[in-house]
Amino acid sequence: MNEEALLKANEALEAANQAMFTANNTWMLVATVLVFIMHLGFATLEAGFVQRKNVVNILFKNVMIISIGLLTYYIMGFNLMYPGGDGGGWFGFAGFGLTNPEGAAGLIEYADAGYSYWTDFIFQGMFAATCCTIVSGAVAERIKLVPFLVFCTLFVSLSYPITGMWKWGGGWLQEAGFYDFAGSTIVHSVGGWGALAGIILLGARKGKYTDKGIKPIPGHSMPLAAMGVFLLWFGWFGFNGGSVLSADAGLVSLVFVTTALAAAAGAIGSFVVSLGMFKTFDLSMALNGILGGLVGITAGADQMGPGAAILVGFIAGCIIPLSVVFFDKMKLDDPVGATSVHLVCGIWGTLAVGLFGELAGMTQIIAQLKGIVAVGVFTFLFAFIVFFVLKLTVGIRVPEEEEVAGLDIAEHGSPAYVGVNQAAFSVAK
C-alpha cells in the first residue's frame, strides 16, 4: 500500500517536473523569437538612418549578418562560447558542429529543467549576430561589402564567443565575480568596440566634416527608424527576459519591468539633454535614447528594482547626445549612433551593476571594471587588426565615385526605391 502511494507520488512529481520543463522551454523559445525580432529592428532602424541611395546595401548586409551569424554559431561559435569543462579559463573549444546529448541529458537535465540543448543553441545563436549588426550601422554608406562580410565572419565566429566564454561560458571573468546579466558588455560593447575600430580605419563619409563645420547627412526615413527602435524594444523583452534562462515568474516579470522602465527613462533623458543642448525636439536622439536605456539596463536587469532601473536608463539617455556630439568632434562618423548607444552605454550599464541594485559595492565595481577593460582591449584589438589587414590587402572603403553614386547602384545595380515616372525600359544589349 505504501509502495503504491510512493510510486504514484513519484509519478506525479515527474509529471510536474516535465510540465515545468515544458513551460520553461516554451518561454525560452518565445524569447528566442523575440531576440530574432531585434534583427528585424536593426535592419529597419539602419535602413531609416542611411540615405535612400544606400538602403539595398544596408538591408543586404543585415540579411547576410544573421545568416552568417547563425551558421558560424552552429559550426564553432556555440562550442567556443560554452566549451564546458572545469571553468575559469581563457579559451576552450568543444569541437565543431553540434551534438545533442542523449536522452534526458539533452532535455530536462541539460539546464536544470530550464531548456533543452537545442533551445540553448538557438537562443544564444540569435544573440551572436547582434555584435555584427551593431558594426554594420556604424560603417554604413562607405564600407565595401565583401571585406565587411569577411570581418563579420571572423568577428562573430571568433572574437564574440571567446570573450563571451570568459563570463557566460564559465571562464575567468565569471570566477572574478564580473556580472553581465544579458550582455551590456558581452554583446553590446563588443559590437561597439568593433564599430569604433571600423570607423577609425574607414574614415568619415565624404563631405561630413568640412572646415566650415559639420555637414550632417540625415537619414532618409524617420518612420523606418522609429519603427526599428520600437521593434528593438519589443525584442528586448526576450533579450532580457530570456536571459533569466527559465520561466521563473518572479524574475522574468521583474526583468520585464526594469527593461521597460529603463527604455522609457532613456527616452526622457535623451529628450531633456538634447533639448538643452540643441534647443530642438530631436526624434533621432529620443530614439537613440530609448536604445541607450535598454543597453544600460541589460547588465543588471535582474539585480535592480524599478527605481534603480529608471535612474540607470535616464543617465544612459542623458549620455547619448553628449556622446554623439563627442564622436562628431573627434571626426568619427557614425551614421546611426552605434558607438554612443552600444559602446558608451554598454560600459555605463556594466558599471551600473556595481553602483545600483543587489550587487552594488566597491568589490563589484572593481569586478565590472575588469570585465569592461579585458573585453574592451581584446575586442578592439581583434577588430582593429582584422580591419587593418583588410584595408592593407583589398581595401575596406568604396571609391569616391561609388560613394557619391550610392552603394545600391555601385554594389548591387539595383535601387531601393524605383521612380514612378521612368522612361521605358530596354533590355541591355
Binding site: 563631405g207 565615385e401 557619391v404 553614386a405 547602384i409 548591387h412 545595380g413 539595383s414 535601387p415 521612368q422 522612361a423 521605358a424 525600359f425 530596354s426 533590355v427 541591355a428
Partner: protein, 115 residues
C-alpha cells in the same frame, strides 16, 4: 538681363555652387531633372534581368544675371562642371524681358542685386 540654364551632373553640383559663389553669384533656382541623350542610361539589375533605366539623372540650374555677369557665370560653370566624360551637360543663355522682385517691387538690375 539674361537667364543662364545649366544642365550639369548631380555630382558636380557642390563644386558649381562654390564656383558661382566665388564670382559673386549667390542665388539661383535648381531642380533635379531626368535627361535622355547620347550617354547611355544607367544599367540596373533585378532578379537576374539586366536593364537600361532609360534616362540619366541631372541637376538643372536657372541663374538670373545682369549682362555683365554672363561670361563670368559661364566660365565658372564650365570650369567646375566639366569632367571630360560624355554627359557633362549643356549651358544655354536666354534673354529676359523683365525681372521683378516680389518682396520689394524692384525691377531688373536692382532686383537681382548682384554687385
Amino acid at each position: 538681363m539674361k537667364k543662364i540654364e545649366a544642365i550639369i551632373r548631380s555630382s558636380r553640383f557642390d563644386e558649381v555652387k562654390e564656383a558661382l559663389s566665388e564670382k559673386g553669384i549667390n542665388f539661383f533656382t535648381f531642380m533635379e531633372v531626368k535627361g535622355y541623350g547620347h550617354q547611355e542610361g544607367e544599367t540596373h539589375t533585378y532578379r537576374g534581368a539586366v536593364y537600361d533605366v532609360g534616362y540619366i539623372a541631372r541637376m538643372k540650374l536657372e541663374i538670373m544675371v545682369s549682362d555683365s555677369f554672363v561670361q563670368l557665370a559661364i566660365d565658372a560653370i564650365l570650369a567646375s562642371a566639366k569632367t571630360g566624360e560624355v554627359g557633362d551637360g549643356k549651358i544655354s543663355v536666354i534673354s529676359l524681358d523683365e525681372i521683378i522682385q516680389i518682396r520689394t517691387g524692384l525691377r531688373n538690375e536692382s532686383a537681382i542685386n548682384t554687385k
